[in-house]
Subunit: 502 residues, 2 copies
Amino acid sequence: MQLTGRMVIGFDRVAGTGRAITAVDPRTGDGFGPEYRYGDRGDVERACALADEAFDAYRATTAERRAAFLEAIAGRLDELTGVLVRRAVSETGLPEARLTGEVGRTTGQLRLFAADLREGQTRAGPLATGGEGRPILSVDPAGDGGPEIRQGRVALGPVAVFGASNFPFAFSVAGGDTASALAAGCPVIAKAHDAHPGTCELVGRAVSEAVQEAGLPEGVFSMLYGDGPTLGIALVTDPRVRAVGFTGSRGAGLAIAGAAANRPRPIPVYAEMSSVNPVFLLPDAVAARGGELAEGFVGSVTLGAGQFCTNPGLVFAVKGAQLDAFLDAAAEALEADPGAPMLTPGIADAYARGVERLEGRPGVEIVARGREPDAAAGCRAALAVVDAADFGPDLQEEIFGACSLVVRCDDLDQVVDVARGLEGQLTATIHGRGDDAARLLPVLERLAGRIVWDGWPTGVRVGHAMVHGGPFPATSDARSTSVGSLAVERFQRPIAYQGVPR
Amino acid sequence: MQLTGRMVIGFDRVAGTGRAITAVDPRTGDGFGPEYRYGDRGDVERACALADEAFDAYRATTAERRAAFLEAIAGRLDELTGVLVRRAVSETGLPEARLTGEVGRTTGQLRLFAADLREGQTRAGPLATGGEGRPILSVDPAGDGGPEIRQGRVALGPVAVFGASNFPFAFSVAGGDTASALAAGCPVIAKAHDAHPGTCELVGRAVSEAVQEAGLPEGVFSMLYGDGPTLGIALVTDPRVRAVGFTGSRGAGLAIAGAAANRPRPIPVYAEMSSVNPVFLLPDAVAARGGELAEGFVGSVTLGAGQFCTNPGLVFAVKGAQLDAFLDAAAEALEADPGAPMLTPGIADAYARGVERLEGRPGVEIVARGREPDAAAGCRAALAVVDAADFGPDLQEEIFGACSLVVRCDDLDQVVDVARGLEGQLTATIHGRGDDAARLLPVLERLAGRIVWDGWPTGVRVGHAMVHGGPFPATSDARSTSVGSLAVERFQRPIAYQGVPR
């Protein structure tokens, strides 16, 4: 497949006229073609007009037709796996095996929503008069002279999707936000990510071709290149766009949420922004299996150069000889980490600055560094410790990469106190049992969207029950998830049909 | 029951120290005691601190215990019906029969949520390790070496509730927002409404006594008197308050939503603000039963002096002899309307000014007025017509009271065009059948939270399937309902338990 450097606007392939970017191989620091030029307001206008035109016809499709469409996208991505992974490896520096797995996860996600649509589990589609397999959610039967009332759900409208750098498939152009919006009956306008523009083009074209093949209106999917502050905000503030899915930095997420809240007609924004995913190592667990925990912990911290939203960036434990032994084992394991290229030179710079800042922070001690990787934009792992007395809000800031800070507490009371003061998180993890764990659980329920027990937060399973979300500032809206069956409901609203003929 | 003029802060009855207000009888314009003094920041602080303290213990209660608590509130209100209605009649000018029915509706709502809790239909309560009847929403079983993942819901935290003037029971201190928040596991801090302060005191004390009798922490319920811009906003911006339920004017709703969005940690606001509830009279219906429609229409417009959020303030129909006949019949019926007192002198003034503005609006013709009622703050019904060519955004503004505007369209194309340009609404109504109706339905699905077919929008049944909500600016958040079983979910968020022991 030849890359063209063009945007996808409905069935057209459009060359941008703005600033030009290319992909950069983070292993070498070298840029490589083709050139991608940013779109302008006219491109946003055209994509939004097409999406708005497509909306009514698309949301009126049957669950079966939408399911088949999602499966067709998945089939195309499966067929393209080799091409996609080759391009993504050179754009992201991520290992081939990981990216191959990520394509499978992405197609699995599309197929999960397809299956949910068929089973009516996601409550998809409006409850029209015709039926067509659209589920009735609940019914209050006619009686006492009153009419029957049925509850269904309607799609919100065109959705703007902003993908992340760290998952070029699963959280990008055909990732969870796009899959759930399409399943919900919403057209999608994706903003391609500058960190993997060629991968975006390949995936975007595949989606658009699936739209065409399915005989759906072309406005069901478009993909634009552009920067966040201009093209991104133009999308978010276009009156035809009715919801936003975003995965990325807190700064960008808050800018989008602010722009959406200040529209004449505000719209929902589902922004996944940042999380340090606290891990609580209770004394019984550290005593019983400190060595195993150290190994698991370092594996989770260094996985994929730590470039996961669920990377365990904070650990809380009670001081003592057993914690010291855990720290020694963790330091030893981390020092053996070979390092890895990061996604972009900018991310690698931010990581290095973050670790430097941590090193200079009074009270914080860097106890181990990993090896310096052989990459232009490399990540050298870091392990730090601090006493709870010296812990502060500044140490809750995410350092995106393979870095974690262990907070040494005097006792469990102090662990619980510090936990109460933490910001909202995607995940919170407990290793331990008994009364200590029982005491901590309700605190963590208030803190996070997912509680992990005797495990590690990295690795988000795609399934019916998953919640990948959490209280602000982990996300802009804790009432949803960006992974799993429930994600579809983000892009719908309930509606009651009173006395409407079936 | 002696009224005391005091606020309810947990189990204490506290006299405010701020501005003094009294109830006003809208039939006579006379104020009457006792005096209610506004609370201050210290009162907000104390209510929020108590609510926050109560939150963990309250959300950990079993569904059964919460159900029994809601039923105990309902039981107390039932017992007090006579006292409640007498006070409310004098504070609101609403008829005794209507208010008696409204108490029943309010207790029915509490009992519906209690039944839902028992049946697990509202997914209430966190999925704790202990069980205690808390429903598991979905489970991804352990497999391939991965842990089991269960999905539950956790309560958001203390909820601030702002009731409405027009439903002194069903949308006030123990109304839908309070009932659903309590069912969800959230403590409630209600702001009493100045238009019925004594009714609020009676209901607030009943709720607090039910808290005490149930052995629940006192912070589960408080009720304060105060004005919106100071005490109200202090509540909305208190960091311990985690969600807001509001029913009232667009101005106040937008102020609350803005304050909530600008918090360091934004929170959900469910504000029901305004709606003109468009009714579409299709030619076949006007031809077949124009007289019956005119009668039903005027009945819906004048019901309760038109003081319903679902009052049909706009009607769209196609010009012709049959519409003329409908208008003649409607004018005749409306002229016979005796009028009624409105809720407050301020509301009556605003209504009179709204009708005056309409009368002076070029293109608008007032075709009928009801009789002048014998009340200090009375509502004289009004029926106006305008040609679609003269219709504009200014005519979408709600005139709260018994006033409706019929928009005469050239043909169905024009009806559909105008419908596409309407703001979000709580309801949209179709009278008609066949292709015209089929063409209109998808337009109305995008417009409103409830579609009414061959009926009238006034009268919101409390049940499982009801949706009382709708796109902005009808509400600040279309993804919810303030009436019906689904209302509970507004005050919860999903959470995943990964590998957490059962």
